[in-house]
């Protein structure tokens, strides 16, 4: 394992006050630059000496990246808004309660005070082989140490693995996809808006990245449309330690019902693949069906179709199946289960 040091290697620190300045710095320093949001992911890398950037661009002084604003069609959340601010914001709690529920499930209160929503969705994989600095696929090498007969892969992927079996650790990511959020990215060529579900990429597309952000790009804003405001939401996170842990599997659902029938639904799980997985086949299958135990059973069975567990993570298949069932059954499912 990597040796933990008390201090981090020296780097040149820049603290721009505008997005334009941050982009200019990224452009000037290229691959030598590291963009720092809340620092919860970054400082782990730095202290372990696995990443040694020459230049760090700290976004904390850019006011335009902070805060939550009501816009014509929903909300805009600055990428540097802390998770605590997301959790406490009254409008978010009132109309998009799945997001504060997910944000509140992330880490500890101290970390949520410092961690940002942009950082939470853009954080790197937590596979310990990768974080330990070994030359695995994700680190540019040619092996996945977790996907071997003796690899410790209890927390790893059961879906969409392609050489690398690391998973996406974010709690807010599935909630944002369930809300059909849009990610606003500033690039050297201008602004780009992508659906939240397209923001995340798996190892088949690029084995060294978790998101579509290229060097020089900056996630500035997350837009949440009003499409799913006030829907019936469900978020649940299964983890080893309730007080502070990454998800083994989490599930997020936004449901609009007509009577007891499911009229519209978006259903997303995370912790099972290198990207949050939107279960579109399940959504299609349950649409128009009553929100009851029978539909939930169908959804659960369908959700895990194609799952390929590794040596030690077979438990994730029933865990994911049951979380999806509970999401379909809705609020109160936890007590009923």
């Amino acid at each position: 394992m990597a040796v933990i040091h008390d201090v981090i290697p020296a780097f040149e620190l820049f603290q721009p006050t505008t997005v334009d300045d941050a982009l200019a710095l990224q452009s000037r320093h290229g691959a030598k630059a590291w963009v720092l949001a809340g620092g919860l992911d970054s400082f782990d890398w730095f202290k372990d000496r696995i990443k040694r950037p020459e230049v760090v661009i700290d976004l904390s002084q850019i006011k335009e990246l902070r805060g939550i604003r009501a816009v014509g069609d929903g909300l805009e959340i600055g990428a540097m808004t802390t998770l605590t601010e997301v959790v406490r914001h009254p409008m978010v709690r009132e109309k998009y309660s799945i997001l504060p529920n997910a944000a509140e499930a992330a880490a500890s209160p101290q970390i949520r005070n410092q961690g940002t929503i942009g950082g939470n969705v853009s954080q790197d994989a937590r596979c310990w082989y990768y974080r330990g600095g070994w030359p695995c696929y994700r680190a540019g090498g040619n092996i996945c140490y977790a996907d071997t007969p003796t690899g410790l892969n209890r927390e790893h992927a059961i879906l969409d693995a392609d050489r690398c079996v690391a998973v996406n650790p974010s709690d807010t990511a599935p909630a944002l996809i369930a809300l059909d959020a849009k990610m606003v990215i500033r690039t050297p060529k201008g602004e780009r808006v992508v659906n939240a579900e397209d923001y995340f990429i798996g190892p088949a597309i690029d084995i060294t990245r978790m998101t579509i952000l290229q060097p020089g790009d900056l996630l500035t804003t997350i837009r949440i449309p009003s499409t799913w405001a006030g829907s019936q939401f469900y978020f649940e996170k299964a983890r080893d330690r309730s007080v502070w842990d990454f998800a083994l599997v989490n599930v997020a659902a936004a449901v609009v019902t007509s009577g007891n029938a499911i009229e519209r639904i978006r259903l997303v799980v995370n912790g099972v693949a290198a990207h949050p997985v939107r279960l579109t086949a399940v959504e299609a299958a349950v649409q128009g069906k009553p929100r009851n135990a029978e539909t939930a059973e169908l959804a659960g069975q369908l959700a895990v179709r194609g799952a390929q567990p590794l040596q030690y993570n077979g438990y994730k298949v029933p865990l994911m199946r049951n979380l999806v069932k509970r999401a379909i059954r809705g609020v109160g499912a936890e007590e009923a289960a």
């Binding site: 070994w134 040619n142 092996i143 071997t148 007969p149 693995a161 392609d162 050489r163 597309i205």
Partner: protein, 289 residues
């Protein structure tokens, strides 16, 4: 620029993990420079150097026995070449587009193309060994002598003019040799590398070899791959050169004309084995050679 990327494995060993991907540009630029150099050479020097020896002596009396169309490549050979070319282009596209920034799920397409290439090459080995003139593609003594004559003439020294070619010119034979070496390297290493990814054929086993052996296997696979960037570039260049178009056409239709045969090839070195049975047929039907 690193030729090879190294890393430290969990056991503290320094191991190669793959080639430096900047070598891709070295290969691409090297291929382009070769084209430019060759085009200049052909434009200004080649004729004086490569003028062939007394064609009339070599071909006297032969012309009347040569059919109008001389079969050069059988249907099997042409289909092999087509399938191999498609597989090779697919391999290069799936291997290197992601390296230059075009991201897509390439691994499955890559190993499928690799399997197609492997099967086509196995077919080619058997086909060429038992149904074609196996030795026609390998450089022989006359090729070496003629190459020496050309080289001397290029340097302005006195040397007899080189003879006409057999079925394949020397550069074609050398190209085949290099492609064979690079191809077998890519195929051999690629088949083992399939043990590292999910396929229907093998159970994954990344510990089949030690890290050092795997590392060198990735390096060899990478070197063969970037080598093919230059080799394919050069091949396409020759295929579209005006003086070589008749050979390209032969790879599509299977034959060359009597005039092309007599102009470029030595019937003594590439004899037509089955002369036409009837004069009338020779005008419209190709004859295996």
């Amino acid at each position: 620029m690193n030729l090879i990327e190294w890393a430290q494995n969990p056991w503290g060993q320094q191991i190669p993990i793959h080639i430096g991907w900047s070598l891709l540009w070295v290969s691409a630029i090297g291929g382009l420079l070769f084209l430019i150099a060759h085009a200049i050479y052909v434009r200004y020097w080649a004729k004086a150097v490569t003028a062939h020896s007394g064609a009339p002596a070599a071909t006297a009396g032969v012309g009347v026995q040569v059919p109008e169309r001389v079969a050069r490549h059988s249907l099997g050979s042409r289909l092999f070449h087509l399938i191999m070319a498609i597989a090779m282009l697919a391999l290069l596209v799936t291997a290197f587009l992601p390296k230059v920034g075009v991201k897509f799920a390439w691994v499955t397409y890559h190993w499928i193309a690799g399997i197609v290439l492997t099967i086509s090459v196995i077919y080619h080995i058997f086909h060429a060994s038992f149904w074609l003139d196996f030795w026609s593609i390998w450089p022989d003594k006359e090729d070496v002598e003629d190459a020496s004559r050309r080289f001397k003439r290029a340097l302005g020294q006195s040397a007899p003019p080189p003879r006409k070619f057999a079925k394949y010119p020397l550069e074609n034979k050398l190209y085949h040799l290099v492609v064979m070496l690079a191809g077998l390297t890519a195929i051999g290493t690629g088949l083992f590398m399939m043990k590292r990814v999910q396929t229907p054929f093998f159970t994954r086993n990344p510990y089949l070899f030690g890290d050092m052996t795997w590392g060198w296997m990735y390096v060899l696979h990478g070197l063969a791959g970037i080598g093919f960037v230059a080799l394919v570039t050069v091949h396409i260049y020759f295929a579209i050169r005006p003086e070589k178009l008749f050979l390209t056409k032969a790879m599509i239709f299977g034959w060359i004309t009597r005039e092309q045969y007599l102009e470029h090839h030595d019937p003594a070195r590439w004899p037509i084995k089955e002369p036409p049975s009837e004069a009338g047929q020779s005008k419209s039907k190709s004859v295996p050679a």
